[in-house]
Structure formats: structure tokens, C-alpha cells
Symmetry: C2
Subunit: 340 residues, 2 copies
């Protein structure tokens, strides 16, 4: 597990190019202040020797690592049941790569891991952290803030303490929900219900708020609690049908929930969208396109969220004039398929 081949050092390159180590270092780091012929000679030597800088040695003196930690709090397996996470990661990776940063992935699985992550971040191994924490009561965000590492959160954090100045990137959950519900209303539906997500996550709360924005008090009795899972969607849909048989539209907190609802609707002999129109949220392709009928849903640009998080972390200081809002909210779009 240890390096075997003795890799060339700055020294070696310097010798080959007939210059000093300092000059090689300058060339390797951009070449400013070095005359052209020398630059050329050094470049060639680097090439010939296949020189790659030793990052450890460099970090030791610069105190920078060109590495960013991505922390995923994952108390539920749910995170892994959908491609959401992978897509964000892809966006993050692209952006980091473009700026020669490495991505160190920290997956946490409960309390024990929190200490580990806190230690790692406080240990100054990375230049910053991108944190995904789904739950309102998650102690991780606080831990991380205390570690003193520049951090950007994925999704609006929901803790209650007076932590301000938190930088985060989120989708416009509330606006997207409003669009969905308005679409249902525009279809002429009058008994529009909402199956919520797990309300300990801000995304679920915000989507519920969006629903209320449009339906007001009228919708109160038509709100049923779900949990972002298909099973939860089924349960909620049954409850809904029993309680309000005249329901003619459902806005589900996500596509998985909608899929569950669709199954119950079919089972109960309701036609979609003729009898009951259904809208989901996420536009999770493998789900939304495979349901019967295909799901109308609210799309968020997940990959862009990831990219933006990384960008904010890397260039935050430059671009952000003091007083800039700490949260960036990305727009959503309604994708019409057959279910509504």
C-alpha cells in the first residue's frame, strides 16, 4: 500500500534543467517572474521526468490542500434510495475538478461518526466542506460550524439556534410547490390535497408552505402526512380517500410518494388524471417516467445545485460583497407528463 517507484523531486527537475529549485517551483506554480527560455527548459525537464508535485510537501508549507470535504449525513437509507445524492455529487465533482480540487467524501452513519467528522474537519485536512444534512435536529451542522471550516450547506438548514450567516444552496421548494398546486387549480380541480414529506426536513416544510400559499385554509383538511417513501404515499392516499372521497387532485411531496399514491388510486379504481390528477416533486427520472401514467412533476436542477455549492465554497469570498444573502435558491420547473 506504499509508493514503490521513487518519484522525481523538484531537485531532480532543477538539476536536469540546470536551474535552482526555486525557479522550478515558480514555473510549476504558474511561471510568473521567470523568463521565457527558462520556463521552456523547466517545462521540458518536468515533462521528461514525469514530475508530479508532492502535495503533502506543498500543503505542509502552504497550509492549503486543494481538497474539499463532502459530508453526507445519512441517518436514513433514503439518501441512497434515490439518485439525488449522486447527481449533486456529480455537479460538485465537476466544479472542483475545474479548479484542481480533490473531493474527500465523508459519509456518516450516526453519532459515532459525528465525532470522527468533527475531528477530521477541525484537523485542517481540507480547505472547506460541503454539507448535506437532511434533518432539523441534526447535530452535525453545529459541530461543523464549530470546527471553523468554511462551509456551504446543501438544502436550507433547519436548526433552531440563532446561527446566522449560514451559506446554503437550495431549490425553490416553496415556489415549485406553488407552481404545482396552481397547475392543478388551473386544471379546474377544486379538491386539491397534499401528501407531505417527512416534516423534519426543510424541503418538506417548504413544499407544504407552498401548498398553503395557494390553497390557504381551504386546503387544511386535505393535508395528509407522508414521509417521502412510496409506502408513506400509499398510506396517506388511503387515508385521504377514506376521509375525503371527493378529492380530485393530489400534490405529493416527491415522486416516490406520488408513485405510492398512484398505486392506491389504481387499486381503488380511480382514473389518473381523469378522476384524480397527481403531481410529484423531484423529477426523478427512473420513477417519474416509469409510473403509470407517467408523472407530472416539479423538476429541480440537482446537478447545478452541487456545482453551485462548490463554486460558492471556492470563490465565496471574492464574489460575495458583504451583506449578500447567505442562501442561494435555484428555480424549479414544472414538467408535464400524463398524470396532471
Amino acid at each position: 500500500m506504499t509508493d514503490t517507484a521513487p518519484r522525481p523531486t523538484l531537485e531532480a527537475v532543477a538539476a536536469r534543467a540546470g536551474v535552482s529549485r526555486a525557479t522550478v517551483s515558480r514555473v510549476v506554480n504558474g511561471g510568473d517572474g521567470v523568463r521565457e527560455p527558462l520556463v521552456e527548459r523547466v517545462r521540458r525537464a518536468v515533462e521528461e521526468l514525469g514530475y508530479v508535485p508532492n502535495q503533502a510537501a506543498r500543503s505542509l508549507v502552504t497550509r492549503r490542500h486543494d481538497a474539499v470535504a463532502v459530508v453526507v449525513a445519512e441517518p436514513e437509507t433514503r439518501v441512497f434510495a434515490d439518485p439525488f445524492f449522486a447527481l449533486q455529487l456529480r455537479g460538485i465533482s465537476k466544479e472542483l475538478t475545474a479548479h484542481d480540487n480533490q473531493l474527500v467524501l465523508l459519509l456518516t452513519e450516526g453519532r459515532d461518526d459525528h465525532a470522527r467528522v468533527g475531528r477530521y474537519l477541525a484537523g485542517g485536512h481540507v480547505d472547506g466542506a460541503l454539507v448535506f444534512s437532511l434533518h432539523l435536529d441534526d447535530p452535525l451542522p453545529g459541530l461543523i460550524q464549530r470546527a471553523g471550516v468554511p462551509t456551504v450547506f446543501g438544502g436550507r438548514p433547519g436548526w433552531s439556534d440563532g446561527l446566522r450567516d449560514v451559506v446554503y444552496v437550495d431549490s425553490d421548494n416553496r415556489g415549485g410547490a406553488r407552481d404545482a398546486v396552481r397547475h392543478l387549480v388551473g386544471l379546474g380541480r377544486t379538491r386539491v390535497a397534499h401528501i407531505t414529506g417527512a416534516l423534519d426536513q426543510t424541503s418538506a416544510v417548504d413544499r407544504l408552505e407552498g401548498f398553503k400559499d395557494v390553497m390557504g385554509d381551504a386546503g387544511r383538511e386535505l393535508v395528509v402526512r407522508g414521509d417521502f417513501t412510496p409506502a408513506g404515499g400509499e398510506r396517506a392516499m388511503r387515508e385521504l380517500l377514506d376521509r375525503c372521497p371527493d378529492v380530485d387532485a393530489v400534490f405529493a411531496a416527491n415522486d416516490l410518494t406520488a408513485a405510492g399514491a398512484l398505486r392506491v388510486l389504481r387499486e381503488r379504481g380511480r382514473r389518473v388524471p381523469e378522476d384524480v390528477a397527481v403531481i410529484g416533486f423531484d423529477d426523478m427520472l427512473p420513477i417519474a417516467e416509469q409510473t403509470d401514467p407517467p408523472l407530472t412533476t416539479v423538476r429541480q436542477d440537482i446537478e447545478e445545485m452541487g456545482r453551485l455549492m462548490a463554486r460558492l465554497l471556492l470563490h465565496g469570498d471574492e464574489e460575495t460583497p458583504p451583506g449578500t444573502p447567505a442562501g442561494v435558491v435555484l428555480p424549479t420547473t414544472l414538467v408535464r407528463r400524463a398524470s396532471a
Copy 2:
């Protein structure tokens, strides 16, 4: 993006504990050969100062990094359309964490990235690499082998050159396929078809082989090419129904394919499983449980694959007597639901 708080060094701890740096180093690295009272004193000093070793300094001298790269070749978006990758990652992460190793994630997106990954691995930034390369013609594996980093592959690599001694972890695709087909035969089906996966991936090839193992030449005309996508499954199923209307069972190369096939079957008025029994592969929960009817499928323990890969990389040398087969193949299990 740079560390701000000046973190305590070994020196500081040594001063506080009234010992030499070497002693502190010994304690921090396990404490062997240091007398108890000193160990205690050093431990306390570490605690009080909140000392965390500087990994860069350590790596510089030990030439170890306690870090492993996970390389995901992802020419297709497909990798991200299913939770497969996330689950493997989870298994890997758990195992690495248990051994205090960090996970550096390298996502590649085409040729340009290959050079970057090659450089990174050759640069000796990590102690080893775990590589996921789906395609037969992927140049990445070769590149990586040339980088001289200990490597374990996820899935049987399929390149043609005479590269031996490749360590990999795979599911028993062939055996799983055999189980699936045998199950269909056991159900009394006589016209069993197979919709293949993308045959430039070994998993698809192996599943096809498994099908042939059971059906022999009898099955030849009932093999239709798919590509692991639902759309491919639909296309293949249509072709199959047109060509062999008497087909009474389908083994699809994965769950996504099976989902597509199910839709076409319903569309054509065939009942599942009464008229046509269907089996998938993967047991991708969000798909397999949501299809109508729920899908009988072959489960692989994806997380365990990941864990095993990491274990092999970290302890490979110790556990492996010379001559041990380089590939580890994990068993699969048939999960019965309603579709067969």
C-alpha cells in the same frame, strides 16, 4: 479557504507534557514502548491542547496517506440513474472509515478526465485505488495499472489484453442468471426469453452466459438485445412479442429493463405472471417494489461488494497467499415477488 486558527503542533504538546517530540509522536501513534505515566501525561496534553496531527507533515515522511481513491468511470449517465453506485460507496466508506482511511472520490467524464486521473494516481496522493469501469473498451483500467497504484476493480474487468493478476470483486452474474432461468423453467415455462443488457459490459455478458447455461441452444432465438434501460426493455419486448408471440417467460438483464418489458406486456394485454412470467436482476428497491406487479428479481449484495473491495485493498497483502484467485465473486439470491 485557508486555516486560520494556528493549530498546536507536536512541539507544543511536547513542551506541555515535558517530554520530547519523539515521545509524543510515539504516543500519538499507538504508545508502544513508552512507559505508562508518560503516556498518560502526553495524552492529557494532547487533550488539553486539542492537538490533531498534521497529515501533510506525516505523509511527507511516511509516504503513506491513509487515503484511497475511488474512481468511477461514468461515460454514461446511467451510473447515476440507479442507487447501485451509492450503495457500493457506502460499503466502501464504512470499511475505509473502520481503518482510518479517507475516501477521495474521482468521477470521470470522458477522455480529458482520464489524463487527470492518471496523473493524480501516479502522483502518489493515495495509497490505493478502487475502480469502477463499466465498459469493455475503457482505457482507464490500463492507465491505472500503469500508474503503479494498488488497485481493486469493481466488477470483472473486460479488457482483452493479457493483463493478469487483476484483483476484482463481482457478483455472481452468471450463477444468478442461471437461478433466475431455472426458476422460470421450474414454473413450467417452456418459451423462456432473455433481454440482454449492454453487451459491452461484463455483467451483461455474464448474465447472458448464465441464460445459455440453462437454455442451451433452445434459447437462442429467444435472446433479444437490450441496453439496461427501460426504453431498451420496451423495444426488446416488442420485438420479442412480434417474433415469438408464444413467449411465456422473460429474464431481463436488470430491473430497469424488466420494468420496460412489463409496460409493453401490459400494453399488449398479456397478464403477468399468468401469461408471461418476468424476472429482473439487481433488486433495485425503488424499481422492483414499484412495478406492477412487483418484480421477482436477483439480488446482489451491493454494499458488501463495496466493503469487500476496500478490505481487499487495505489488507490484500496479508490475507492473500500467493496464487489466490484474483477475483472474488459474491453470491446472489433470488427474491420472489409477484412477477414470476
